[in-house]
Symmetry: C2
């Protein structure tokens, strides 16, 4: 029996609507180790108006709507636990407007980070949020993503001016304006950032840009121990030195990227730094940072000043996720994502490293340590349920530790399906009740990405 | 007949509950030119739990609750158009925790900007949001305030980590955590920032601090014309020079502060700059800025390097509001607050200046021009309704101009009662409907600061 919603969507979109097994499979999985859950069909809209039409039809047929960007999420955000329609925004990939005068631009939600970067760099600008993956800007906003440069430039929460959003009722709204600041009512821009498609679909973003700094330099520093590396970063942050990036990789992560990216870095806990500014300021910042790392027993800075070296280094860092997977062939990663106040970071990492050692799991550590955020890649054999159970147990201990330290269960990956079970411990019943009230107010039929983010109230 | 709610509040709070005419008068007015509207009574709680008890009683008696901080708002935020209870948080003035390691602190909502500043400076830190007025931190969060330093450090939206909020049902919630970033669910911190007491009462704030920079220097530059001053700022922003403050005062504002603060500044459009950083970077930034202002015909920088001179200069700038009122004795100010993309700022100011000249009103211009935000102080004689009408007309033209330029009706003062009539033009019906849905979900009886921010749906 033909599905009437499918028939209407096919009429609307032609061959940009599909129920093929291949596309359903592609849209029911992400980069996580969670088992896939397929949507019933996939749409590829080209405009905000088409998204609105799709959402209206789905609402009429009380069918779930799951937005999809690049599928690079790590917590099952794009899964379809209740079936429904995956709305793939990747063909909405137009850069609609760039203003060098205002240092802002407007893009469709399917524009990817690298696509935008290539276009902007030719014009002397860049968009500073860099989660590593070549995610879509819409997906990055939906998960409140950040990454290596948040320590200097902030997260998606800090770099979006206004969003175009399709609401569950099919209305198309603007959440804000192009003004750099505004006190005109509830902050809907920040409400939709990080809402993971549960309140509507982001179709366009107006974002803040940066001019490419006069000087950029990168350096790496090795340490004998993990805790001294972290303590050096803590002191650098406390001293207010405006590092543009400061990433920690432990000895196992370095081994993995050496193998994957054919590098020969010393296999020890290592900090990757980048400094942005004028030539004089970059030199000054680097000297200040170098003095602190040296005092904590760090090696001399190994510099990567020219763009080729620098790109090789950061490409290796960005590929750390895949390098770590390749380090234990055939494995999947359960990736943790806590973020704690920086004064607690060294203790949090050290205790976690002890947990890893006791577990017998292989789990490289990579971290945006300037923010207090780090990841374990708990490498598990997909055929061994006991691996998963052990990794899950370790993650739970880590999450509880972070919460006890005043931190968060997820610094940048989002909640999706994987972290729902920790939301009550994070927020408490009263705060969760407010989130539920907002969800109910905006999506009363619970059709927008259902089964994600908000746990059922107890 | 005794009011039963008043009796219960008196029992709860003793002499920290009052219906005295004096206190009702004090709590039914602000710094705006709007006519006062008095609450029925005033409470002075000392703790979050007392605020929760007050709110619960008011909810039981279906009585409006109006939070009150320092009364320095400019749009009637603290007025009681439907009567009710003013909850004055000024006695909740404890700094609860300061962490130099994490550069954050937790304060009660009644702590004022200057009180916090005095405490922090002794510890080598400062809180960067500076609206000029000695507002409470709770009030600053409620209106999403900013001020002279937003160009470098952002607004309240950028500098709060988490809030303690009393909800309309009396629940006490935390909106976030002390982590520097988080992707754990809806961003309630940003939702409550700028919500003007319409969703609950902020009772505690955890905020980000900054280390006092090694070097600070301030300078003023005069220009022959307003537009060249603005164009110089635009170019400085576009060049990415990280000025800590850049304020514009027109010739009339300079005359007013010369008289009020006994200064002898050249009476012409003038930029006030401040630079923060290391000695070397401050010098570098200042030289870069100086080259640009010079190219636009600005005078040489007049430096105020030592702390006494610098404080005198900024005190004069902060007192500009009162200086302008004193410039036309007996007047009140209708203060405008648009913010536009910086590429539009020069045109917006020039056209507005033409409007002022045609109107015959006295209206000094002061502006946080680095953000695209500026204020007219439309000085009106409180006994002349025709003055008000003319000022209101000019403000409406300005608001429409800003919206046409992609800007906002209020950069930092908030909506209150004064700007409600522009909310539909700012946001459109769909966006306003979302705001109403949120309000209805969290405050279904419409008891939290009713008659503010959200216009009745048409």
């Amino acid at each position: 029996m033909p599905n009437p919603l499918h028939a209407e969507l096919a009429q609307l979109l032609g061959d940009r609507f599909t129920t093929s097994d291949y596309e359903r499979q592609q849209h029911g999985q992400d980069e996580s180790s969670l088992p896939p859950m397929l949507p019933d069909a996939v749409c590829f809209p080209l405009t905000t108006e088409e998204v609105a039409a799709i959402v209206k039809l789905c609402t009429q047929h009380q069918t779930p709507v799951i937005p999809f960007g690049a599928g690079s999420s790590l917590e099952g955000h794009v899964f379809a636990p209740h079936g429904g329609i995956s709305v793939d925004l990747s063909r909405m990939d137009k850069i609609l407007r760039v203003s060098a005068d205002d240092l802002d631009c407007t893009v469709q939600a399917g524009v990817t980070r690298q696509q935008l970067d290539q276009s902007l760099r030719q014009q002397g600008m860049f968009f500073p949020v860099d989660p590593g993956a070549d995610a879509t800007l819409g997906g990055m906003a939906s998960t409140r993503a950040s990454g290596t440069t948040a320590v200097r430039y902030g997260t998606m929460a800090d770099n979006v001016l206004t969003l175009t959003v399709v609401l569950p009722n099919g209305d198309i709204i603007q959440t804000g304006s192009r003004a750099r600041k505004s006190s005109a009512g509830y902050d809907l821009t920040h409400l939709f950032i990080g809402s993971e498609g549960t309140l509507g679909i982001i179709t366009e973003l107006t974002i803040k840009l940066q001019g490419i700094p006069e000087a950029i330099s990168a350096a790496i520093v090795g340490f004998d121990a993990l805790d001294t590396a972290v303590k050096a970063v803590t002191e650098i942050r406390q001293a207010g030195i405006p590092v543009a990036r400061v990433e920690l990789l432990d000895d196992i992560a370095i081994k993995a990227i050496n193998q994957f990216s054919n590098l020969a870095l010393a296999e020890q806990p290592t900090l990757f730094f980048e400094f942005h500014g004028s030539k004089a300021t970059v030199q000054e910042y680097a000297e200040m940072a170098g003095e602190i790392t040296h005092a904590w027993g760090g090696s001399d800075f190994q510099w990567a000043v020219d763009i080729g070296e620098r790109n090789a280094l950061w490409k290796a860092r960005h590929n750390a996720y895949f390098a770590c997977l390749a380090y234990r062939p055939g494995s999947r990663s359960l990736t943790t994502d806590v973020c704690v106040p920086i004064s607690q970071l060294a203790e949090c990492i050290i205790k976690t490293k002890e947990d890893i050692d006791q577990s017998g799991l292989t789990a490289p550590i990579v971290g945006h340590v300037g923010d207090g955020n780090f990841h374990l890649l708990l490498l598990v054999d997909p055929h061994k349920p006991e691996d998963f159970a052990q990794a899950e147990q370790l993650n739970e201990r880590l999450v509880k530790r972070a919460l006890a330290m005043g931190g968060t269960i997820t610094g940048e990956h989002g909640v999706g399906m994987g972290k729902m079970k920790f939301m009550q411990a994070q927020h408490g019943a009263g705060t969760l009740a407010v989130m539920h009230a907002i969800k109910q107010a905006i999506d009363p039929q619970n059709l927008m990405n259902p089964g994600k983010m908000l746990p059922t109230l107890e």
